[in-house]
């Protein structure tokens, strides 16, 4: 039975629960917008990386450079799209 619950994945799950709890702080505490958003950005991206590495096994084959490269490229363009659009329509309008 024990072999069905590898320590790495159990730890990953516990860690993701902790990250969720930290993110929840912005709801329960009265933080400034900047502080709250910083917490959310940090916890969300760590959480995503955790899923990618621990659960999705992104780095287990010799194609890891292409898999990570593809994901990071998409995240880069995603960020460009989001912030470029906000730049146009919110911050510079």
């Amino acid at each position: 039975m024990k072999e069905l619950f590898p320590a790495k994945q159990v730890m990953g799950f516990v860690f993701s629960l902790i990250l969720t709890a930290i993110a929840l702080l912005v709801y329960f505490l009265d933080l400034s917008f900047t502080a709250g958003l910083t917490i959310l950005v940090v916890t969300a991206f760590i959480q995503a990386l955790l899923q990618l590495v621990v659960f999705m096994h992104a780095g287990e084959t010799k194609d890891k450079w292409a898999i990570y490269g593809n994901v990071y490229f998409m995240i880069l363009i995603a960020m460009i799209t989001i912030f470029g659009t906000l730049f146009l329509f919110v911050w510079d309008m």
Binding site: E3, L4, F5, P6, Q9, G12, F13, S16, L17, T20, A23, L24, V26, Y27, L31, F33, G36, L37, L40, V41, T43, A44, Q47, A48, Q51, L52, V54, F55, M56, H57, A58, T61, D63, A66, I67, N70, V71, F73, M74, I75, I77, A78, M79, T81, I82, T85, L86, F89, V90
Partner: protein, 198 residues
């Protein structure tokens, strides 16, 4: 079909290897799909017209339950893949079934949430904000719904054919999909709900 025994079953044929790689590229496209939805949401979130704002309609309890259900399901399907690599078909099927049940629970809460929104006057036609909110959530929900059918098909195949290179490959790819949906939910949870209620 030249089997390589040094690798897990799901990578063991050339086509299997290609399938997994191709699915990663597809997940890249999914990142951009949700990024576009987020882009629209961030632009439109304060354009509520005569409808309600996010802080007026979001409720923490159902959202938190949905988050926990999906986080747990992502963990459980990870265990399913682990069991699969140990060759324990029965345990794997159980883990997959639990995953889908948790997914079903998530979906029920989300449907409940949608009914609530319509009830408080935040339907999809109300304002630009509600349109982009419900479209973003709905796209994720549609992915989960699709996943429920897909996962069921995979469980049936593993039951019928056992763990072959093909069924193992399909199961692994499905787990990638499911984890990815969890990642997307984390961003929805953080940047739509928590940011909106902050």
């Amino acid at each position: 079909m030249n089997l390589e025994h040094s690798q897990p079953l799901e990578y063991s044929t050339k086509q299997n290897d290609l399938n997994i790689f191709g699915f990663w590229i597809f997940l890249g496209a999914e990142i951009m799909l949700f990024a576009t939805l987020f882009t629209s949401y961030f632009v439109l979130e304060n354009r509520t017209g005569s409808g309600p704002a996010g802080s007026e309609i979001f409720e923490i309890t159902p959202v938190l339950i949905e988050t926990l259900l999906l986080l747990t399901s992502s963990f459980v399907i990870g265990l399913g893949i682990h069991a699969m690599r140990l060759g324990k078909t029965k345990a794997m099927i159980s883990f997959f079934a639990i995953t889908l049940l948790l997914g079903l629970g998530f979906l029920s809460f989300e449907i409940f949430e949608f009914v609530h929104y319509v009830h408080v006057g935040a339907g999809i036609q109300t304002s630009a904000f509600t349109a982009s909110l419900l479209t973003t959530l709905g796209t994720h929900g549609a992915h989960v719904t699709f996943g429920l059918f897909w996962g069921t098909a995979i469980i049936l195949q593993v039951k019928k054919r056992g763990l072959t290179p093909e069924t193992a490959n399909k199961s692994f790819i499905f787990s990638l999909y499911w984890h990815f949906l969890d990642v997307v939910w984390i961003f929805i949870f953080s940047f739509i709900y928590l940011k909106g209620m902050m």
